[in-house]
Amino acid sequence: MTSHLKHHSAHPVAMETLPTLGVGRYFLADGSPCTLPFSRAEFDRAQRAVQQCLGTFHFRTGDQVLVLSLFDECCHFGPIEHALNPFGLVLLSADASFYDAGRTESCLRRFAVTAVIGIDGEVLNGLEANGHDVGQLLGDKVVWARPDAYLRLVELQGFQLRRWFELGPAMAMECVAAAGAHVDRLEWLVEDVDGELVLTSRLPRAVTFDRYPTGIAGRVEYGTCSCGSADPRVFLR
């Protein structure tokens, strides 16, 4: 089963759907993008889940956070941006892309950035192509890296490296404990089915999911994280 549409046809979802706030996308198990309408309620819930993760770091009001994203990622990164506001964190933005790496470098050089969220391999390629020392640029910041960047940054010293990744329509984000990436337990039931991460939405959304196979290989750890969260934590294989 590779498409959630096929999956839905096999398992009709009776759950009520909510009015659309906007439309982003997620990646199907085969890697192709699929349009994803989202509602205000799920957007707000995702924001709250990110706030809980950010809260484990004790950032201070006025700290600057650089978010690296692209416009099609609004249902994942929109809530992240909004989660900064209650802490009084200031948002800086740049493309998660090779060609806009100069903006990332400029932000890191000119601003006292405390955290970077969403850095990926393309940005690292762009920084390196322009002769920048990535380790020096990232300094002692908290850095949430996507999987392709995480693997490259894990060898470097100095900054606090954490994982962030898309999990189909959901997202996973590591807290200060760095003991697996949290998935919002109130929003999603996440299971490891034969080594594949499978999602079921637990509350009304614009689009609901029922045992949706993400195509992502991983395992799930349940129980309390040392940060104090009861969210399940996922580990990519």
Binding site: L70, G78, L91, S93
Partner: protein, 434 residues
């Protein structure tokens, strides 16, 4: 539910000129002590000029006495004081929410601190004018992600954004969503994306009139649209609305009358001054755009010389709105004097569209100084469309441009794909030093 008004904010959009000026004066007189008290650069510039906010009691006082700032002054402050905000920031967190940026095409991006989204006011009025109404979908594929996700910017009016990267790879999804969601507006198209749409449609035998049939307008930006881009959009039955920046204060979009960019004068005080002096020019005459933010409490620009050469009119527009309109002629800093003749890069666009190989009108002016003996151009071409020798094309371009502009010309040819690597996805730097 009552029928929607023709205007989103009729009281403001159609305000009579005397009322509009009273409104501007009120906003300005509130702004000046605020900016002077909080912005280190504004205070430095005004102190150096020997002017205090209390010296300004009217718009006329402001026009007569207020000193100017420009991008160089901001950059100098930024570098000298190690202040990324260039001395403009008036707020601290938590009131300061985010920092947007200019495109950074020609250097370090300029930060644009924000507390509340002023741009929403402008875009909502303009979308509304295009025919977008609550509940409608809008396709959003902005050039670069430099102002954050704007998801909730649209929701005050229940406009629902469909979001994409500004990339050819997104076209299958854009086309499918356009059929499924029936969006009524698109923000924003560029020449490279339009080239990609044309190419994709040709390869996949897509009927673009069908794909775009629900759109009441599509906003085009990045540069002045080449004639061929206009023609293509007309063929697709997609009404083009152009967007430009009003000196980094807000954007400005043209209207259904397509008679200039509407500058929302309750958000920005517009002046057009002699490019070589400080005196105002008459409406319709060429001058430098100078703007003052009227409702920005995060980092207001006060009498900012934009370097943009424009004409401006205060005549009521055919669309019924009363705010002034600008026409953009080019950047003062891009002006070239070749063999004694003044030229702007946009003078070159239409000349390239005469040839199938250079239809995309991708080019760079190699500008080593303002005054030069010869116009040096790097021109992109489509190798697949080349039906004569490269040297013949080069000579033909040289002769055509030289004859049309009446200046000596030197041409260097480069494949389009190579030129496109020089910039972000929506444009290339039109002026380069090498």
């Amino acid at each position: 539910m009552p029928a929607y008004s023709k205007y989103y904010d009729e009281a403001i959009e159609t305000m009579a000129r005397p009322d509009l000026e009273r409104l501007q004066e009120g906003l300005l007189l509130q702004l000046l002590p605020y900016a002077y008290g909080r912005s280190a650069l504004t205070r430095e510039v005004w102190d150096a000029a020997g002017v205090k906010p209390s010296d300004i009691r009217s718009l006329a006082d402001f026009r007569a006495k207020a000193p100017f700032i420009d991008k160089d002054r901001i950059r100098h402050f930024r570098d000298a004081r190690n202040d990324p905000y260039g001395g403009l920031k008036c707020l601290e967190a938590p009131h300061l929410i985010k920092v947007g940026f200019t495109s950074g095409t020609t250097g370090d991006p300029t930060p644009v601190p924000q507390s509340r989204p002023i741009a929403n006011i402008q875009t909502t009025r303009d979308y509304w004018h295009m025919g977008v109404r609550p509940g409608d979908y809008i396709s959003v594929c902005l050039f670069t992600f430099r102002g954050g996700h704007l998801t909730t910017n649209y929701t005050t009016c229940d406009f629902k954004p469909l979001t994409y990267q500004h990339s050819p790879s997104e076209l299958p999804r854009l086309f499918a969503d356009s059929i499924n969601f029936r969006p009524t507006a698109m923000m924003v198209l560029s020449t490279p994306l339009i080239m990609a749409i044309e190419d994709h449609a040709r390869k996949h035998d897509t009927d673009l009139r069908d794909v775009f049939s629900s759109y009441k307008g599509a906003i085009y930006g990045g540069e002045a649209p080449p004639p061929r881009v206009r023609k293509l959009m007309m063929e697709w039955d997609l009404e083009m609305y152009e967007i430009t920046s009003l000196g980094d204060v807000i954007g400005a979009i043209d209207c259904s009358a397509h008679a200039g960019f509407h500058a929302w004068e309750d958000l920005a005080l517009v002046e057009v001054l002699d490019p070589d002096g400080d005196e105002p020019v008459a409406d319709g005459e060429r001058g430098e755009l100078v703007v003052t933010s009227l409702q920005d409490d995060a980092a207001p620009l006060v009498r900012f010389r934009t370097d943009d050469l424009v004409t401006f009119t205060r005549e009521r527009c055919l669309c019924g709105r009363t705010h002034g309109r600008i026409r953009v002629l080019g950047r003062k800093g891009d002006e070239l004097v070749i063999d004694g003749k003044s030229l702007l890069p946009r003078d070159i666009n239409p000349l390239l569209e005469e040839f199938p190989e250079t239809l995309s009108a991708l080019y760079q002016v190699i500008r080593t100084s303002r005054e030069m003996d010869i116009l040096r151009l790097r021109i992109g071409y489509n190798p697949a469309a080349l039906w004569r020798s490269e040297s013949d094309l080069k000579e033909l371009l040289r002769a055509t441009i030289s004859s049309a502009l009446e200046v000596p010309v030197a041409v260097e040819l480069t494949p389009n794909a190579e030129l496109l690597k020089l910039g972000p996805p929506h444009k290339i730097p039109r002026v380069t030093k090498q």
